[in-house]
């Protein structure tokens, strides 16, 4: 009798089953959305990298029929969150605050801003094959330099109205270890072309600014990100000897589909208002 009663008690009513099923369903859907976004985000990176790889190595005569699939990321910093929009998809960007990954925080800090920029820089560098690929045309009529915009960083109007300067992005990149690795951001962003010593610079670890000095304007560099500004993070590839008409170059171009091996690219982080301070012969995306 007691046993029967307990069994009856243990049995769930239809309503309870429906509620539990609904709860499980909602949790699963939410998890699927979250994971879907994570996977989509990761797959976007891989799709871009594959397209870069494909385009870089399918250049008969220095010209590839393939297209790059690397859309721009528009990052907007808010007081308590960061939104990242790629195409029509918008996601909340996660950052690590006090050791915990989160997409909400109490207030925007220097660390959060730098973390986001560093993360985007790492992704951009990874997508572009760490400066080893030139995913742009290299035939005789191709531009000497070509750029691709990875991310644009902006701040919500409230933050823009009372701008705060965050100093020390170079230091952050130099000292911060990339999660899950033993490398700092600066070490990663400068390898391996840097090690060839062909180019004394690969990553521009500062922001290019144009400032008014008296009656003239001057170009300066800055280690500061201001919440009053907009910044672009991009990749610039050089196509050094495209138009060189010497024998070796011509035959390298003919048989390898690209000119010499000294091709390289750099990452740039620039104040949006000074876009022309970088020599981009073309902006791909």
């Amino acid at each position: 009798m007691i046993k029967n009663h307990l069994l009856k008690k243990a049995q769930l009513s239809t309503l309870q089953v429906i509620v539990i099923a609904l709860a499980v369903g909602i949790i699963l859907i939410m998890a699927a959305i979250v994971w879907g976004n994570v996977i989509k985000n990761k797959s976007d990176i891989e799709v871009c990298k594959l397209s870069v790889l494909g385009k870089s190595y399918s250049k008969p005569g220095g010209k590839s029929p393939l297209q790059l699939d690397c859309p721009r990321n528009y990052i907007t910093f808010y007081e308590n969150q960061i939104l990242s929009r790629t195409g029509t998809r918008e996601i909340k960007k996660k950052v690590t605050v006090k050791g915990i990954q989160t997409d909400k925080f109490k207030e925007l800090t220097k660390d959060i801003v730098f973390q986001t920029i560093a993360d985007e820089a790492r992704n951009c560098w990874y997508k572009m094959g760490e400066g080893k690929f030139v995913p742009f045309d290299q035939n005789l009529f191709a531009p000497t330099t070509a750029c691709l915009l990875c991310s644009s960083f902006n701040f919500e109007p409230k933050l823009k109205d009372n701008p705060v300067d965050y100093e020390g992005i170079s230091l952050y990149l130099n000292e911060t270890i990339i999660p899950g690795t033993e490398q700092t951001y600066a070490e990663y962003l400068q390898s391996p072309v840097f090690q060839r010593q062909r180019v004394p610079w690969v990553f521009i670890p500062f922001v290019v600014n144009v400032v008014k000095v008296g009656d003239t304007y001057d170009v300066t560099t800055s280690d500061t990100i201001s919440t009053g500004g907009t910044y672009y993070l991009g990749y610039q590839a050089f196509n050094p000897t495209t138009v060189k008409w010497n024998f070796i170059d011509f035959f390298t171009l003919l048989f390898k589909g690209q000119v010499r091996d000294e091709i390289y690219g750099i990452l740039y982080l620039i104040n949006a208002d000074n876009m022309s301070a970088i020599n981009c012969g073309m902006l791909y995306n």
Binding site: K59, P60, G61, K63, Q67, R72, G87, T88, F136, D137, N139, L140, F141, A142, P143, T144, T145, A146, L149, S152, N154, R198, V199, W201, I204, F206, V208, V210, D215, T216, Y217, V219, T220, T221, Y232, F238, P240, T241, T242, V243, K244, L254, F255, E262, I266, N271, A272, D273, N274, M275, S276, A277, I278, N279, C280, G281, M282, L283, Y284, N285
Partner: protein
């Protein structure tokens, strides 16, 4: 008999086998040759055909612009602002916005451009190859690559700004029908041209390029109409260049004792002066080296009489790339970088007597560095000293056509 038959059969078979073996080898060789030939042809076509990357890039940038416009139009907010959108438009291409209720727009040359048929009676933004001319509406689809249609009652316009030397703003004609509270005063039809020939002094024409510039987008809803402003944002670096160029004019005015027409983007002056005079001039004008604000646009080339072949007068570009990339100067790498960026021939100082690229240097560079690279003049020889007032990109383009895309961005 049998053995003969057998032998003959055998030898026939052998020859048949030999033939088929030869045929096989021949076939393989032929196949390899055909593949190699096809590969070679594809390579040659690739090398010598025009790169269509600028077209792809222009289309990609057009798509990005129209997508942002679409997002803003579909947003419920009545007032929206998109602060900076870098936009690349290649030479020969044009992006034009058509209003919903108007069948045409005017460009700055007062040419009436009719809305393409695909837009019907809706608002749209279209990408053109070439300059659309459709004064009578019969050729309204000519040159249209793509149109993005918007179902909302939109009016596209741009803030009218004065023409700036070397870099145009939008290319639409002035319009007076943009009326909402706090609307900008001077407005134009929204028309971005990749390149234009701008008339100057009624005779001269200057070729200017859009290249990559930021645009800002503002949406305002008023009186059942969506006013969508897409305007070019003045680039701080371009402004700085303008001021620098002005300073360069003033400096050359002082030297020549005459006033130069400032409406000309490039100027060549060839006073024949002796080597000692040239040297004295350079010594007397240390500002050419010391005041970096003047340097960017003045190039002085010197050669002895009779060998004034500019092509052989290789000039230095060493500080150019460093300056523009704001990098620490490393002398050893500089020639490589300048070669890379603008495809100049490498510096060979023994080929000329004197050359000075009076260009800007990064703030952290010792001014003596530039001077230390120079070759002494021979005071006894007559010389031509030429001063070119021009963008470095112009130089590259003039002497090495097709090589100055990097420089073109600066025009």
């Amino acid at each position: 008999m049998l053995s003969k038959q057998f032998l003959s059969f055998f030898s026939h078979k052998k020859s048949q086998e030999g033939m088929s073996f030869n045929a096989l080898i021949g076939g393989i060789l032929a196949f390899i040759s055909i593949v190699a030939l096809v590969y070679l042809v594809i390579m040659l076509i690739g090398i010598f055909s025009t790169s269509n990357q600028n077209v792809d890039s222009t289309i990609n940038n057009y798509k990005e612009l129209t997508r942002i416009v679409d997002n803003m139009l579909n947003d419920k907010a009545e007032s929206l602002y998109f602060e900076r959108l870098p936009l690349y438009v290649s030479s020969g291409y044009q992006i034009i916005g058509f209003d919903r209720f108007q069948d045409y727009v005017f460009d700055q040359a007062n040419i009436k451009i009719y809305k393409p048929n695909s837009c019907k009676n809706k608002a749209c933004i279209c990408l053109y190859n070439g300059i659309p001319i459709s004064n009578d509406g019969s050729t309204r689809d000519q040159g249209v690559i793509k149109c993005t249609i918007y179902n909302k009652p939109v009016k596209f316009f741009s803030k009218g700004r004065a023409y700036e030397r070397g870099h145009p703003d939008t290319f639409g004609l002035e319009r007076n029908d943009i009326a909402f509270p706090n609307a900008p005063r001077n407005n134009e039809y929204f028309d971005i041209a990749g390149d234009i020939f701008q008339p100057l002094l009624g005779v001269l024409k200057v070729h200017t390029y859009w290249m990559i510039r930021n645009v800002e987008l503002t949406k305002t809803v008023y009186d059942n109409t969506i006013f969508m402003e897409i305007s070019a944002v003045p680039d701080a670096e371009l402004l700085r260049k303008e001021m620098t160029l002005d300073a360069a004019y003033v400096l050359l005015d002082q030297f020549l004792g005459t006033s130069l027409p400032q409406t000309v983007d490039e100027l060549t002056i060839d006073p024949i002066i002796g080597g000692s005079e040239a040297k004295k001039f350079l010594e007397d004008h240390p500002e050419l080296y010391q005041n970096k604000n003047y340097r960017e646009f003045i190039v002085a080339l010197y050669s002895v009489s009779g060998t004034n072949d500019v092509k052989n007068n290789v000039f230095k570009t060493v500080s150019y790339s460093t300056f523009h990339n704001q990098l620490p100067l490393d002398k050893n790498y500089e020639p490589i970088q300048s070669e890379i960026l603008a495809d100049y021939p490498p510096l060979k100082e023994n080929e000329y007597d004197y050359t000075a690229q009076l260009t800007d240097l990064p703030p952290n560079v010792d001014n003596n560095w530039l001077a230390s690279e120079q070759v002494e003049l021979n005071p006894n020889e007559n010389a031509t000293i030429s001063f070119y007032l021009a963008d470095i990109g112009d130089f590259a383009e003039r002497y090495r056509p097709g090589s100055s895309d990097a420089g073109a961005a600066w025009q």
